[in-house]
């Protein structure tokens, strides 16, 4: 294949189908589990489109997530250098495992489940404010962003009053349309901000995750800059993703009223938990693929991936693989979607998934019951979607009731 026949990536979604992956991805998946795509810089990494190959490769230790290695398919100009690494998400084992294990305990299932009443209170209070406030209102600003921001702030020990600062920089960090130098500046600003918080926690420790990191630094187990990097990772990953699932999920449900009715009129925690998994699968908001580089030659599905080749594992289309999910284009809250790859797979699978699930379960089981007449206050065509982001969603969602 010559480079001019290689399709450009990422691809555009079809007009009027904001919840479906680009048609071109469906076509590539139909044709073969792996193919080549062309990136902004002219490089031609592998694109892995089928579910089985995605899982097998994401669990393969011969793939590296180290963004500083040649061949790593970076989504935009301004590839981070070593010093700028965003926590362990862009590192390999054993260092990745060592750092991840330092912050895993607070995300254990039982620890997270214990937060349910606190999360329910946050959600209830925000809905009280919505109901008491003016309408129409932007659901992103008034609800979708505050829920996960308040939750992750409490867990990390970050003052919520600083939300304009960290939300703004987080948005820059994950956008392809923000220039590289501005993205770099936002990363440094967040890093400095976390570093200042770590200094405060050193003087005045609290019962929070950042204070636990300070203890690790004091014990000589963790570099101060790595602690700040982990803080940035948790703060950014902890609110942007879930916020997008809340707003985009609500929009998807409003467009599928029969499905929304299941949540609004039912009261079954099992249904709610299943609905969260299905919305994660169907929307797959991390829509520009998991990115890796091969450390060794790998034979898979009749092709040879060479050491040094870049790979993009497109989990959005993986979650629509008809070989794994029956009728994958249908949003069906009652299906068993637990095998989705919306949180990735392999050693980097989302650390925050128990927390994300809890927040989404509380939101989806509360918002539509308390505001049963919730509806869009703008035409679908006028809603701005995050086509340019590493995380898909809506910039704004005007709603009324």
């Amino acid at each position: 294949m010559t480079s001019d026949t290689v399709p450009a990536f990422p691809m555009a979604r079809a007009a009027g189908c904001p919840f479906d992956p680009p048609p071109e991805l469906h076509r590539l998946q139909d044709e073969a589990p792996l193919s080549r795509v062309r990136l902004w810089d002219g490089s031609t990494p592998w694109l892995v489109t089928r579910y089985a190959e995605q899982r097998s490769l994401l669990a393969d230790p011969r793939l590296s997530a180290d963004v500083t290695r040649p061949g790593y398919p970076f989504p935009a100009p301004g590839r981070p250098t070593g010093a700028q690494k965003l926590g362990f998400i862009l590192m390999d084992d054993p260092e990745h495992a060592r750092l991840r294990r330092m912050v895993t305990a607070p995300f254990a299932i039982k620890r997270v489940e214990a937060l349910r009443p606190a999360v329910q209170k946050i959600v209830d209070d925000l809905i009280d404010d919505l109901l008491a406030g003016p309408k129409p209102v932007d659901l992103v600003e008034a609800f979708a962003l505050p829920v996960p921001s308040l939750v992750i702030c409490a867990l990390l020990g970050v003052p919520y009053a600083d939300h304009d600062l960290f939300q703004g920089h987080s948005r820059n960090l994950i956008s392809r349309s923000v220039p590289a130098d501005q993205r770099g500046a936002s990363f440094r600003a967040l890093h400095d901000y976390l570093d200042r918080l770590l200094a405060q926690k050193t003087a005045d420790p609290g019962d929070d995750l950042l204070s636990q990191l300070v203890t690790r630094v004091q014990a000589g187990e963790l570099e101060r800059s790595d602690a700040a990097g982990i803080g940035v990772l948790l703060l950014v990953a902890g609110h942007e993703t879930t916020a997008n699932m809340i707003a985009l999920g609500t929009l998807a449900l409003l467009e599928h009223p029969d499905q929304l009715a299941l949540l609004r009129d039912g009261d079954d925690p099992k249904l709610v938990a299943g609905a969260v998994e299905e919305l994660l699968r169907y929307l797959n908001i991390t829509h520009t693929g998991r990115r890796r580089v091969a450390l060794d030659d790998i034979e898979i599905a009749g092709v040879t991936i060479r050491a040094g080749d870049g790979l993009i594992l497109a989990n959005d289309i993986g979650n629509r693989d008809p070989g794994t999910f029956t009728d994958p284009g249908t949003l069906d809250l009652t299906r068993d979607a637990r095998r989705h790859v919306a949180f990735g797979f392999g050693v980097h699978q989302c650390l925050g998934q128990p927390l994300a699930r809890l927040e989404l379960q509380v939101v989806y089981s509360t918002l539509y019951r308390r505001i049963p007449t919730l509806r869009r206050a703008a035409a679908l065509a006028d809603i701005p979607f995050k086509h340019d982001g590493a995380v898909y969603g809506v910039y704004e969602l005007p709603v009324t009731w």
Binding site: R101, T104, A105, K110, R339, F343
Partner: protein, 67 residues
Amino acid sequence: MSGVRVILDQDKCVGSGQCVMTAPEVFDQRDEDGIAVLLTTAPDTGQTDVVREAAALCPALAITVRE
């Protein structure tokens, strides 16, 4: 009919919690670092399906189920 045997490789575990969510009578997580622990290596036959499901969901391929 006897049930299955479960083997857990804690060195591989990344603390995703998938197994605890799926088969809470068989798996738990350590308080100190969230790494999975087995509550039993020979679960009741009634647990076989969820144990298999947990092994299939484990992102780190840390769970092996033996007949």
